[in-house]
Amino acid sequence: MTRKGHRLEIALLVLPAVGFVALFLAAVLVMTVMQSVGLFSFTQETQVGLQSWIDAATGQTWDSFSYSAKIAATSAFGSLLLAYPLALFLRRSFVGRPLLNAIIRVPLFVPALVAAFLILNVMSFHGIVNEVLVRLGVIGEPLRLTHDDWGLGVVFIQIWKNLPFLALILTAVLANIPADLEAAARNLGAGPFAVFRHVLLPLSIPGAQTGVTLVFIGVLGDFAINAIAGPLYPPSLSIRMYLLGRNFGEWGQAAVVAIVIMVSSLLFAWLFSILGRLTVRVVR
């Protein structure tokens, strides 16, 4: 086969995936940006300008943004803090390891919405936790664990859902660190904690960073779990976007919120990569 024919073949192989992503992502992105500046409006006259941006720049949008970012950061780093020791523990071989491995993966097989609904039963105002605590006399009246202003219920569900995912990534990353590196560090005078601090920790940071970024972006743009267990105010960014478009017909402003979600996802991903690199530099 000629070189040219071969190239064509490669192009044809790659095209479905790349073409699909490029075409639809680009089209949607362009549409969104255009809508945010007044083009392709569903409900209003086409009026090019920054009116939607000005209208959307309210305290409410800021509340939604800071709420979503706070929930995302708490969920991502909370999952990391819980998953990391677990992944370290799973490096060793012990009798119950396969069982433990299986148990922590269960949440990966439960759809987020179903999980949220199930956990709601446990945590809601008249859920199992509150009922038990009240009956035992630990608390006088039920605690507001879901739909609370802080979003604790959402964080709880997000961590339940994302911890196994992070543990999976971290276990793989830690397993990929050659045993010889640990042996070399011990041989050179590093005690157990120094081995962790100077070898395992810095070498697992890129994996942790990837995991935290993925969880953060997922939670930042979450709709479903906030709809079920989130506070009445502020709505998450996604819910706000939906409300603006669907309930108020402000599709331009909804597009602005969509852009805020996408751009802040990118910015936070970038921030985490800098944070990761700085941490490696500090701990190595």
């Binding site: 041989n187 005078g189 590093a190 120094a194």
Partner: protein, 348 residues
């Protein structure tokens, strides 16, 4: 600096004995090689000395001090790994200074000692590189510098050259040996490469199935193998079964499948049978002053540049001869070969 003692060292994995009551004394500053095939227990022994493998029995002593319960990071050993085991997230200088940092050596001392070590192994100018940016040979040198910079009691080498190409391997062998002589650090070197062991060692410990087959300096291990394992593992050997027909003060007479052989070895007169061996290069064209005359038919010749490897047949028994340069023997020729009495070893 210290001498090293292993006493009845014992280790098993899942019921299988890997190191079988191994006893070895290594003097201060000596370079000892553990030589054997994979699975003979040499690497396990090395890792046990470093404390990276827990032993199931026996004693490990550095300078008389019992090390059994001392954790690896408190034993003064430094290991050069087969995989080099360089920290990929640290620069060359950071890798080398790691051991000093763990020992809380001051910044200034650390800088000086790292620079010294780098100069010693020829790594000048590479301090700020990451291991991933270095060639295999350079990585090996970093591993070496990282080991010697801590001035350990015992240097441990785990097949450090086996991932390098032949030319570099030969050069680094000699460099390691010279460096060790200069520093005078007691060293244990693990390899399965007999040529490497012969070049680098003060003494060679030939290991097989967790046990020591023979200990001796390179010349002795090569010239006077004690067992058929040693004879065949180090270099090439012709090994035959023999019946000992007589033993005198001059030597013995041996009946073998290729006829009666005269050897200057003096085995225990009580022994009836033995394995005998000699090196292929010790068989030369027959001259009347040689006590052993062997007529053999050439079955194959392989020219290897500096020598020719010749396979021969004597009444159905295969033997090998190595002749320097090329030979004009043809397959099917019958040749008369001679063998000096002192070249025939009676094995244990």
């Amino acid at each position: 600096m210290a001498d090293l003692d292993l006493v009845e060292l014992y280790k098993q994995y899942g019921g299988q004995t890997v190191v079988d009551h191994l006893t070895l004394h290594v003097s201060d500053g000596e370079f000892v090689t553990l030589l054997g095939p994979s699975g003979c227990g040499k690497t396990t022994t090395l890792r046990a000395i470093a404390g990276l493998v827990e032993i199931d029995g026996g004693e490990i002593r550095f300078g008389g001090r019992l090390m059994n319960d001392v954790p690896p990071h408190k034993r003064s050993t430094a290991m050069v790994f087969q995989s080099y085991a360089l920290f990929p997230h640290m620069t060359v200088a950071e890798n080398i200074s790691f051991g000093l940092r763990m020992r809380h050596v001051s910044d200034r001392d650390r800088r000086d000692r790292v620079a010294d070590a780098m100069a010693m192994v020829g790594l000048e100018g590479l301090a700020e590189r990451k291991p991933g940016q270095l060639s295999g040979g350079q990585q090996q040198r970093v591993a070496l510098a990282r080991a010697i910079v801590t001035r350990p009691d015992v240097l441990l080498f785990d097949e450090p050259l086996s991932n390098l190409d032949a030319k570099l391997r030969e050069r680094l062998r000699i460099e390691i040996r010279e460096l060790q002589r200069r520093l005078g650090i007691t060293s244990i070197y693990v390899t399965h490469d007999q040529a490497e062991a012969l070049v680098i060692s003060d003494r060679i410990v030939v290991m097989n199935q967790g046990r020591i087959e023979q200990i001796g300096d390179p010349l002795m291990v090569y010239k006077q193998p004690a067992t058929s394992f040693t004879a065949e593992f180090i270099g090439q050997a012709n090994v035959l079964e023999a019946t000992i027909s007589s033993v005198s003060s001059d030597g013995c007479q041996l009946d073998t499948a290729i006829g009666r052989l005269v050897s200057s070895a003096r085995p225990d007169p009580e022994r009836r049978t033995a394995l005998v061996s000699w090196r292929p290069e010790d068989m030369i064209p027959f001259t009347p002053d040689l006590p052993n005359r062997i007529e053999a038919r050439v079955t194959r010749t392989i020219f290897m540049g500096n020598l020719t490897d010749v396979a021969l047949d004597v009444n159905g028994t295969a033997i090998r001869v190595e002749r320097p340069g090329s030979v004009d023997w043809q397959v099917g020729d019958t040749v008369a070969l001679g063998l000096a009495a002192d070249r025939i070893q009676v094995l244990r």
